[in-house]
Symmetry: C2
Subunit: 143 residues, 2 copies
DNA sequence: TTATTAAATAGGAATTATTCTTATTTGTCA
DNA sequence: TGACAAATAAGAATAATTCCTATTTAATAA
């Protein structure tokens, strides 16, 4: 643990500011997360962390990443990790997803529909779908 | 099969227009899907379909719903059903997801960031997150 | 109408993601 | 330093998704 003691100043400070207990696992997971600009999955982070901490469990990586996101150290891409949902409605619309009960509410937003795509996507990409996703708490869960 | 023979005119026509083979399973799954305004999961549709066709398999419901979405009869909410992805970037940004390789590309869109939320969400809801999600093919997969 | 053939299906196994349980270990704080 | 709540490992449990194989069925041509 000597190495851990001396290094990880920045990670240590981040955890402290969030009121999270400072553990070896968290320091390393946080460092790996920050190294990944590619929207890593739990599996990717777990693999990376195992190189420094071979006995770390998937569950710990999972729990830790989720608490990081609750603490605001990272975000989770909305909706991913949930069961697939199908939508029979064929008119253009967007979705609000309740973070508590999972309910999905449709809404329209023509101002958005009319926005131009950023120019990055003009070359090379084929954009097949374009939608707004809101998340938060629905009225029922807001009590 | 008498009942099936006589009814399901509309469903039959929809399948035909999409060039999908007409099977009892598909007719019933399509009817159930159209009855669900609540963004059903495979499990929800499977449960509903089993009442009319007790021996239907999950796999059939799965395959069928996915072919419906390929045929344009419905859509799948982007990203759902995939492994959870974490994002260490803390500035406001949005995502493009490649439907083929799953790669996620970040982009900024201030015009969108400045849009007002639809008034529906002013009362009762707490909107914690607001993002644009694009999907399609990335340059690498576009060949 | 019937035979042919490719596509669709059932059933269950396999895979993958996620969550839970329990016993043990470790920070934190008084 | 000691007590205690929180965090962890390990593996089991659950849930979502995909795959495999033998069988059935719809579409179509004769």
């Amino acid at each position: 643990m000597q190495l851990i003691e001396r290094a990880f100043h920045h990670e240590r400070e981040q955890l402290r500011q969030c009121g999270l207990k400072i553990t070896t696992q968290r320091l390393i997971i946080l460092k790996e997360l920050m190294n990944h600009a590619d929207h890593p999955t739990v599996h990717m982070i777990h693999e990376a962390v195992k190189k420094e901490l071979p006995a770390v469990s998937v569950d710990t990586v999972y729990r830790t990443l989720l608490s990081f996101s609750e603490a605001g150290l990272c975000t989770v891409l909305d909706g991913m990790g949930e069961a697939r949902r199908f939508d029979p409605k064929r008119t253009v619309h967007h979705h609000f997803i309740c973070n508590n009960c999972g309910k999905i509410v449709d809404f329209a937003c023509t101002e958005f529909d009319n926005l131009q795509l950023p120019s990055v996507f003009k070359k090379g990409f084929t954009v097949e779908n374009k939608s707004v996703r809101l998340s938060g708490l629905c009225p029922d869960c807001n009590k």
